[in-house]
């Protein structure tokens, strides 16, 4: 039984990537140098976030009005802001909310999206209809404005932002996983499992789910990128967590405190570069993975 299952599983690989070991799954990183660079950068950001108190030379919120708008120097490698706060230390601490929002939102999006897709695709009929109308509903809601309303109405905190992002972003994963499941459930290995008397639950999670995991990972890595970008936008607009130091808030403060007119380039370039580097690394990982799943895209 398990023999046939794995063989059939490999046949399904043409659609969805199939069942492969973790080692095979990350093997694409050996050939794909861009994806590898993405993994390195993202790991770096996570390490910085974890060890922020050790790395940062100053308290990111400590003001020093005698040292405001200082350009980069040995004491302040990335200069200071209008209140004399150290930009480098703020950047280091800013990795924390980015990692928190990026990883937790992506995990929740992947979990919800995959399960909705599995259930809708497998059962079909009314359940499918209802869940897909829910997806349409989520697609009809303007994304950033929704996050603003939710965070603006409730307590502005990182967890509210994670919740707001998750509430909408699962829609894409659900749609993609569902259409993969529609294909998979017609495959012989699913039919034989059913004939052998396997329960729906077992078929969904033992036989079908492993085949849609690669797709879920793919959309999960994109979700990391969208979540970090969204959190930065929300913070920039002034709806961020007031207790956290975030890259978006740094840019908001820079724009409001005349950093542009004063040519304080170190203040308004660095946080943007940090956001960009983190987001693009998630995109590069996703892209490398996508090419592995869909070799037509590969050169």
């Amino acid at each position: 039984m398990s023999e046939t299952e794995s063989i059939e599983g490999t046949t399904a690989a043409t659609d969805t990537g199939g069942r492969t070991s973790l080692r095979e799954r990350v093997a694409f990183l050996k050939e794909d140098r861009l994806g590898f660079a993405g993994v390195i950068v993202l790991t770096f950001v996570v390490v910085v976030a974890v060890f922020a108190p050790v790395i940062a030379p100053y308290d990111p919120a400590a003001t020093d009005y005698y040292a405001s708008f200082e350009p980069p120097s040995a004491a302040h490698p990335f200069g200071t802001d209008n209140a004399g706060r150290d930009i480098f230390s703020q950047l280091v601490y800013g990795a924390r909310p980015a990692v928190q929002v990026g990883l937790f939102s992506a995990a929740a999006v992947a979990l919800i999206g995959m399960n909705v897709g599995l259930v809708a695709g497998y059962y079909g009929g009314l359940i499918d209809d209802a869940l897909m109308r829910l997806v349409d509903f989520a697609y009809g809601i303007p994304f950033t404005p929704f996050v603003i309303v939710l965070v603006g109405l409730w307590e502005p905190s990182l967890w509210t932002i994670v919740l707001a992002i998750t509430l909408l972003l699962w829609r894409q994963t659900a749609r993609v996983v569902r259409s993969a499941v529609l294909n998979l459930k017609e495959k012989p290995f699913v039919k034989s499992a059913r004939t052998a008397g396997a329960s729906d639950r077992r078929i969904i999670y033992r036989h079908i789910a492993p085949n849609v995991l690669p797709l879920t990972f793919l959309y999960g890595s994109f979700a990391i990128a969208w979540a970090i970008l969204t959190e930065a936008s929300i913070s920039f607009l002034g709806f961020g967590d007031p207790d956290a130091t975030t890259w978006g808030q740094m840019l908001q403060a820079a724009l409001q405190s005349q950093a542009l007119a004063r040519d304080a380039w170190w203040w308004f370039t660095m946080p943007g570069l940090a956001i960009m580097a983190t987001v693009i690394s998630a995109f590069l990982i996703g892209r490398g993975y996508e090419e592995q799943l869909n070799p037509q895209l590969k050169e």
């Binding site: 861009l34 349409d136 509903f137 697609y139 009809g140 809601i141 303007p142 994304f143 950033t144 404005p145 929704f146 603003i148 309303v149 939710l150 603006g152 109405l153 409730w154 307590e155 990128a225 970008l229 930065a232 936008s233 920039f236 607009l237 002034g238 709806f239 978006g248 840019l251 820079a254 724009l255 542009l260 007119a261 380039w265 308004f268 370039t269 946080p271 943007g272 956001i275 960009m276 580097a277 987001v279 693009i280 995109f283 590069l284 892209r287 037509q296 895209l297 050169e299």
Partner: protein, 325 residues
Amino acid sequence: MGKKEFVVRRVFQLVVLYLAIASMLFFLFRAAPGSPLATFIGTGFTQAQEEAIRESFGLNDPLWLQYLKFLKNALLFDFGLSYTTSKPVMQLVGERVWNTLVLMGSSVVLAYLFGVPFGAYLAWNRGELTERVGVVFALVSRSAPVFWTGILGIWLFALELNLVPAGSMTSPGATFSSKFALYTSLDFWHHAILPAVVQAFYYYSLPALLMRNSMLEVMNEDFVDFAELKGISDRMVMLRHAARNALLPVVTAFAIAAGYAVGGSVIIETVFAWPGIGRLMVNSVVANNYPVAQGTFLILAVLVLLANFAADLAYGYIDPRITYE
């Protein structure tokens, strides 16, 4: 099912989705901590005055009645009066909605004008260094937050080079006889060009990467092989056969991109002090101006719904192989 029936059914779904989003908004606002009038009722009000205000806003009705009234008003696009200016919300929206649409429209068009040929170029140069660099370039612009590229743009083009204004939509004191005169004026476009280009710089990666992927898929199809066998030059095969067919998903994504751009208006309009509904929404949420916040959110949602609807219709219209079921 015929085409007409399909359209009618989709219009019906559109209305249902709109009502569903309005319902979500109603309960979201009601579930929020604090009284909906907390910012409206001053601390100096007496109990009786407070009661009179609650009565005038219908807050003493049972919740289900308030909900039904809200839905009825949402269908009529009546969102009440602004807490701060006492003007009807729809009047505030009406004054600004075209400013948003013109800016968004021009940035999405710009994004397509650059993105589609760029994507075709990437597919054409498949496997070469230019393709790798190009794809990374597209991903870079997708990763750079719009508010940051906007800040960099203002610093470079407005403050350093003094080529364009740093923000707002018209020069101080400029007046226009009509909206049409405004949108066809040089002054307007002088202000609009930077935000439009900044926004387009973010959105072009969508058509570019879609076009590349779509071209690569089409290039494997039989009719492309057949054209090659007929001895048609590579260039002609690309342009006449591959690119034309590859355009299909890219064109339908136009409406989707427009929908995303509508949501993004909250950011670009804030950076450039652009008097559109995105900025109106941000400001009203900051000020707890609930009627305006609800109204602008629902109008943005309507625009997204219409964009998705247009994408559905375009899909069937452009590709006759699609059947309406």
